[in-house]
Symmetry: C2
Subunit: 187 residues, 2 copies
Amino acid sequence: MLNMRPRSGYEIKQFADSSTRFFWAASYGQIYPELRRLEEQGLISGADEANGDRRRRVYRIEPAGRTQLLAWLSTPGGVLELRDEDLLKLFFADALEPAGALALVRGMRASAAERLARLEEVREHAAKAGAGRAPHRFPSLVLQYGLDLHAWVVSWCEEVEARLAAAGPDDALHTPALTLTTPAEEA
Amino acid sequence: MLNMRPRSGYEIKQFADSSTRFFWAASYGQIYPELRRLEEQGLISGADEANGDRRRRVYRIEPAGRTQLLAWLSTPGGVLELRDEDLLKLFFADALEPAGALALVRGMRASAAERLARLEEVREHAAKAGAGRAPHRFPSLVLQYGLDLHAWVVSWCEEVEARLAAAGPDDALHTPALTLTTPAEEA
DNA sequence: GAGCCCATGTAAGATGTTACATGATTTA
DNA sequence: TAAATCATGTAACATCTTACATGGGCTC
């Protein structure tokens, strides 16, 4: 983030909360100590700015830091962790009556729709703030990933809800839920 | 898991590693202490089984535990946490040359394809093991979710790769990546 | 008899969240 | 003037992973 432009810890938190939060969250308890560590390693440098009487420490990336950043970006692979309590509940939904299982999936859909709405707010906000300037391209690509993904989850739930609602004692619940069609394949 | 059938801590770990691991992982360091706590609360009960000379403690769910389980399953909402380092890298990919960004997306696709392959192994294994018996329905529904989801990620990456490869200085990278079509809508 | 699987457990450490403490400035 | 926001930081707590310790049984 400091490679995009210099920022204070507070600004990093603000920015993260409206962007990377959805796939990589960070709290003050991580940010401030980490800034100190990075400075000790000479990867970034901080300068106290006095705006009025309010102290503010703005960090900028150093050449060594940029090198490290590029090395990290070029390292293939990385952490992927998911913790989805709704999915865990669905996994055990055989313990519920059919109505309960249906309610679970409806809840999952509602949550996904909610997150989708929040991401759309982010997009609108970013469109206003970023108008005019030559923007970074990839943050909005990742935002689009989030939008597409949550839209996918919503459709998946709708599909499963329909099957659960229709299911008698005989049911074919386990066929692929969605047909994915890329524009290229439609031709 | 104990509601499905009695198990030892070791068996719980085995089962989790081939099922819930993908959206809710658990280590021995969590499982064994948690079993003790649940027993202290009277939600489960453990019995030492001697098979040969090898000690083994098998736990079963108690009525109070089943009540708690059903209460949890009926509570709407829950944790959803994602930590995706690939997505984080992609977010900052403006710092890379076009070839580097393309490599990133290719790496993402490879990882998703790998996970997809592993889930397919799980499905085949489950199909063999569960043949005949009246199975739990929802574990395989959740497995299907994983398969569908990773397939979706693979297509998303392919789509983006094509755009990145084609992109000159002018590029429309930020349109929705995939057209989702549910069978119902195709009619 | 070597290596792997069954089986239970813990200790140390890494990581991360929440709440609190502090205090200035801006806005309604 | 009260509330929100700017701004930095820490302490306590919760959580989770990794590595280790221990020991029996099975299979090549």
